[in-house]
Symmetry: C2
Subunit: 218 residues, 2 copies
């Protein structure tokens, strides 16, 4: 499918997904959907990408590059609350010195997002889970200010050479957590002496308390 040429086209396509199941979506794309997401963690996100015409495998840019919109599926429980935090972007430890908030991948991805809720009750087989009504969203001024404050707190640690002191506890809404295939992976970060050190790769995540606000705003 071609990339949508406008937000209107994107939203129209997204509304066509509301109420459909993950199994139906998989059949229409000729993809096999296993009974559980355990070994297919990103599958639903990738199916929705294809169904909406995102340019697959786009690196480090919003999924719908032409119209500046990021796509995020959001696992929701029976009461409509998010069940998990949301991955936003890998943290580029060695590039933070040349980056500010406005230029950050976090800001470039979060300024415009199409949220697609997906049922996530573990008792429900993956193919039976339904997609919800998509929400095309931008953060409020307060949310931008809070996200920026979190981002700058984290950036300060990295620039001081204290990347290893960053834990998931930091940040009101935006946090940093490990992001790797397994615990043995290493990457480089600045150290306090102007050189570099080895540390585990990590990513920025939105806490559920943030995405819960997003869903309630509707």
């Amino acid at each position: 499918m071609e990339p949508p040429r406008s937000e209107e086209v994107l939203v129209e396509r997204a509304h066509g997904l509301a109420g459909r199941t993950v199994g139906e979506l998989g059949r229409s794309l000729e993809v096999d959907v296993p009974a559980t997401p355990r070994r297919a963690k990103g599958l639903v996100g990738q199916l929705v990408e294809r169904a909406l015409g995102a340019s697959a495998g786009s690196a480090d840019e919003p999924d719908f590059l032409e119209i500046g919109v990021e796509l995020k599926t959001l696992p929701v429980g029976p009461e409509g609350r998010p069940k998990e935090s949301t991955f936003v972007a890998t943290i580029k430890l060695n590039e933070m010195a040349e980056t500010d908030w406005e230029a950050s991948t976090v800001w470039r991805k979060l300024r415009r997002v199409l949220w697609v809720p997906v049922e996530a009750d573990p008792a429900l087989p993956l193919p039976a889970r339904r997609l919800g009504a998509a929400i095309l969203w931008s953060p409020s001024a307060e949310q931008v200010a809070a996200l920026r404050a979190d981002w700058e707190t984290i950036a300060t640690y990295v620039l001081r050479g204290e990347a290893d002191r960053i834990t998931g506890h930091l940040g009101t809404y935006l946090q940093v957590r490990p992001k790797a295939a397994h615990g043995g992976v290493r990457t480089r970060a600045p150290d306090a002496a102007g050189g570099y050190q080895w540390t585990g790769p990590r990513g920025f995540y939105l806490r559920t308390r943030f995405t819960e606000q997003v869903l309630r705003a509707l």
Copy 2:
């Protein structure tokens, strides 16, 4: 010891307790203090009552009746946060129809409270735990409004004959939980038909999120 004749006298006495241990307090009152509160749950509260001159065993009225002040010890963890909810009063299910917030035992006890923090680290033997600086407190207008709203929600259940539907989940700050020697105790409550039904005795408790505000306000 005689009851304090004024808040000033009470606060002066309370300041004399700050920094002392429960063991010291027990010795001065010739009371044996066991190593743990497990079998002496209300002991510290009763020792502080005696040390400050509360009229012991006062029924259903503020501890310092003459000056209208209630005494509450507050178990606090290493970071100064309350470790437990705080019992306020038994809920008189069969008298709620004749009571409103202004006349309630909850309001009469909470409008003026002397909070006495007590260390509560389980690793610390009871006699070694120290008393903190007492706080003579009244609720803010917002706090009164919130407590009253919780109380009225609960009262509505009782008056509808739905006392059995009240659980600890109700109430932002004020909740209702069992209050009995054991689960077999029964008491009477109104039923929906104008008669009565048997149910377990319960009491009003302040959630720690409330008492945490009290401690931070200083």
